[in-house]
Symmetry: C2
Subunit: 410 residues, 2 copies
Amino acid sequence: MTLENDKQLRHRAEKVIPNGMYGHQSVLLLPPETPQFFSKAKGAYLWDPDGNRYIDYLCGYGPQLLGYGHEEVDEAYIRQLKQIDVATGPTPLMVDLAEAWVGLVDHADWAMFCKNGTDATTIALMTARAYRGRKKVLIAQGAYHGAANWCTPFPDGTVPDDRAHLISYTYNDVASLEAAVEEAGDDLAAIFASPFKHDVLTEQQLPDPAYAKRARALCDEKDALLIVDEIRAGLRIARDASWSLIGVKPDLTSWGKSLANGHPISALLGNDKAKEAAGKIYVTGSFWFAGAAMAASMVTLKLIRESNYLEHMIAMGDRLRAGLNEIAERRGIEISQTGPSQMPLIMFPDGAGGFNMEIGYEFTTGLMRRGVYFHPWHNMFISAAMTADDIDLTLTAADEAITSLSHIAV
Amino acid sequence: MTLENDKQLRHRAEKVIPNGMYGHQSVLLLPPETPQFFSKAKGAYLWDPDGNRYIDYLCGYGPQLLGYGHEEVDEAYIRQLKQIDVATGPTPLMVDLAEAWVGLVDHADWAMFCKNGTDATTIALMTARAYRGRKKVLIAQGAYHGAANWCTPFPDGTVPDDRAHLISYTYNDVASLEAAVEEAGDDLAAIFASPFKHDVLTEQQLPDPAYAKRARALCDEKDALLIVDEIRAGLRIARDASWSLIGVKPDLTSWGKSLANGHPISALLGNDKAKEAAGKIYVTGSFWFAGAAMAASMVTLKLIRESNYLEHMIAMGDRLRAGLNEIAERRGIEISQTGPSQMPLIMFPDGAGGFNMEIGYEFTTGLMRRGVYFHPWHNMFISAAMTADDIDLTLTAADEAITSLSHIAV
């Protein structure tokens, strides 16, 4: 395995891109043998510029729900592109798509489309503040809701004022949520929550229904809005908002990444209670009304309604999880697998309540060398394009990788 | 001319989209006969859902530089889409594109790509604040730099803290700029400027070189960054940053709309002085690294370098301006045409220092009925796809429209 072309590209990139790359796709905090660039993608596979093939468990960090280069979705995009895409007004497809979303997601009465996930969370924030003219917004400690100046996880380039009126609470902790609501007093605009706790570098947690229900009740009591940020998890948990599985209806849900299987579109969905507030704010973007990504999303939603993509992803995730547990047990190494199996986070406990990143990096590197792209500290994503053979190849690679790292682990 | 299908779409949209539409593409503040939706686009033309054809002087509010459905650009998009678009890492094209931009724009040593124009201005803001850890940013009164909570022109849904440390000054007014710098004291991070004053509802102004040069000198003196926001004007003024025409080099320029002729991509370009600061901030987006829009931008940049698109747009703008002046003079109506002729703003003075919006609406409506899409209070955009015949058809329609409104005008 060589990464020579990737290395040359990195060298060129350093000259014309700050740090050579930025954001979540920079590999600076990943093992050194992680390719920075990719040259080809199809189905469950990625190829780097040196021709190495990987079964990709990141799926573009989420967008690839049905697999790379999905023919039916991409054909819809191309057909629409030839008719009309970005123009001086939206296409009729925008109405079709808003209707389709409202039909799919139970809590939703309306939709607004945008481009970035961060657009959708920013519109949610603004809608919640416009709702009753209040300022305080509760956000779970460590949760990621985008990378604009008000929400980026790192403070460089921001001012403390950017995060004014944001109050933090602990996910799944009712007492902490109640204390934060108390702190907001009569100025509570909204509670933000992720469908489950999918923060980096720490165990994922499924939502405690008591917490989700308390968040709903507190918002009702205070006439504030409950926002669930579905950008990462949406469409991988349910064919509806994720908390439909635990019987809690948000007022607003933000969606991104996967809603057109990789084509650029995001959305805020809301209920009638929040509609007037959403209509008061001024938000827009040059490409938000473009038709081609909406055509792709129409087909994606159709496949979501009509195919077994979700059951298949869960089956593949379960197969991976069970296989890895079996290997770890057989090799005598402790492994942490958390979150829904179709969005797994896999790390290695350090025996002191934390995680051993050295082992995680070695394991990921071992898999990389064997054609499997895993992430050592970010949740991964199963796609509907993965087959049982892909999972079994992954397990064979994982068995070898775990064997070769056991000298560190023991 | 009927707008029956458009009307039905609006009726459906009201149910599932707040206000039926939002942002700059809502027609709520435009004449009632303005279609909200479009079903087809090609070259210089748009068709509404009722089959009415328009010569489109908005060009999607800027993105269409070379005309709708440009074959060579779109083919590059589609070819790349079939190879790899959104993935777990960027494609090698991202390096090619950063190099191409740095080659085209004299002040630039590096590039970061994103999706919305607002992304590019937000990254500029954050980079400027990261540069020396300072907070104050100067923005011209009335200038539009995006629609996130820190910059949206309307306050609903925002809190005053979102705009903390922004100081306003008057475009082209050196004394006002100096006073704002004085107010910032030793906490000046940046001065934002548009390439020319292109605010809505008011005359456009070309930049006074004395103002641009003073902005540059003040930034140098205070070790702050000069940011020119090229999102609306970029590539329509020069084959370089717009202020290259007056000999002023910004530290940062934000680009959007037209850099891939309608495909979704925006960019921040910067010089080496600002590179370390840009590398400190954390900004990202799920679709920012996607290959297809970068392939489209590579072809767009090639056509910018190699074709006479700019000279042609200026010639068409000049032809339109001269023709409208001739008609107005002949019909005895006063007309205001401001800004570069390829980005014209056309309004009707009210004789009291303001503009008569009633005449503007009547004129726009008269043109709309004759197959020409004009805007009564926002600058318009010439595209390279427009021909002398399109301009002459427009002038014929304008002559008729002005004749039929002269009872109001007099």
